[in-house]
């Protein structure tokens, strides 16, 4: 899953959408209006974010409301924490080795 999320977030437009939704829900139209993107282009990006489990969208009347999933960035945060712990411990161990030899 985390690779799907990386792929989804690796695009600047989709990252901008996630950053916007982190401040609260918005309609697809709201997401498109401050940009030069067309509504269909935004919907396409939203579809990728939905498939990656980052965003949910609900149709309310004529408006599609988009929100960030509650645990959207948990996998990304876990990956970062795990990798950071690993490399931090390694670099410390490397320091100890360089002092010893």
């Amino acid at each position: 899953m985390v690779h799907h999320q990386f792929a989804a977030l690796g695009d600047p437009t989709r990252l901008a959408i996630v950053e916007r939704l982190a401040r609260g829900p918005a309609s697809a139209g709201d997401l498109a209006s401050p940009t030069t993107l067309s509504l269909p282009a935004v919907l396409k990006h939203l579809r990728v974010l939905e498939d990656a489990g980052l965003v949910t969208t609900v149709k309310r009347g004529r408006v599609r409301e988009c929100r960030l999933c509650d645990d959207a960035l948990v996998a990304v945060a876990e990956w970062t924490a795990r990798q950071q712990a690993l490399w931090s411990a390694r670099l410390d161990a490397l320091g100890t080795l360089l002092e010893e030899t």
Binding site: A7, L15, Q84, W87, L91, L94, L97, L98
Partner: protein, 150 residues
């Protein structure tokens, strides 16, 4: 892919050893195995290094006594002694497969070295293929060498 704070992080250390020694710690199997698995309840059961561009390292490590639950195979995508090393790292274990790109910069600082490390999460497909290619070549190289010795 675009690197963003969500997908990457940086670490920095300053060591009281010249860049040559820090470089060797990444490219010499006997040294690498001594710091690659800092958890005292785990250990490195196997460590091979092919120190050249397109080469890489292969580590087996995990909980004692076997020490082989994890395989970490890295390809040296960039190999510029003793300044810059870029590693595409594929870590595999039961049901886990993870790819990262690590960029190591060694900067002389007085008589020591400042090490700057950037780790990025990357997508599986292309890199995994790249890693497989690198390691096939590396293992073929080892096989050739073993063949000529006997």
């Amino acid at each position: 892919m675009t690197a963003t704070p969500l997908l990457s992080f940086d670490l920095e250390r300053t060591y009281p050893a010249p860049p040559e020694r820090v470089w060797t710690a990444f490219t010499d199997a006997d040294l690498l195995r001594r710091w690659a698995c800092p958890d005292p309840t785990w250990y490195v059961s196997s460590c091979e290094v092919d120190p050249r561009e397109g080469g890489g390292y292969r580590l087996l490590f995990g909980p004692r006594p076997a020490g082989d639950a994890y395989t970490e195979a890295a390809t040296f995508a960039v190999f510029e002694p003793v300044e810059r090393l870029v590693l595409d790292v594929l870590t595999t274990a039961d049901g886990v497969s993870e790819t990262t790109r690590c960029t190591v910069l060694l900067l002389p600082e007085g008589t020591g070295t400042r090490l700057e490390l950037t780790v990025e999460g990357i997508e599986d497909g292309e890199t995994a293929e790249h890693l497989r290619t690198g390691w096939t070549l590396c293992l073929e190289g080892i096989a050739t060498e073993l063949g000529t010795e006997t």
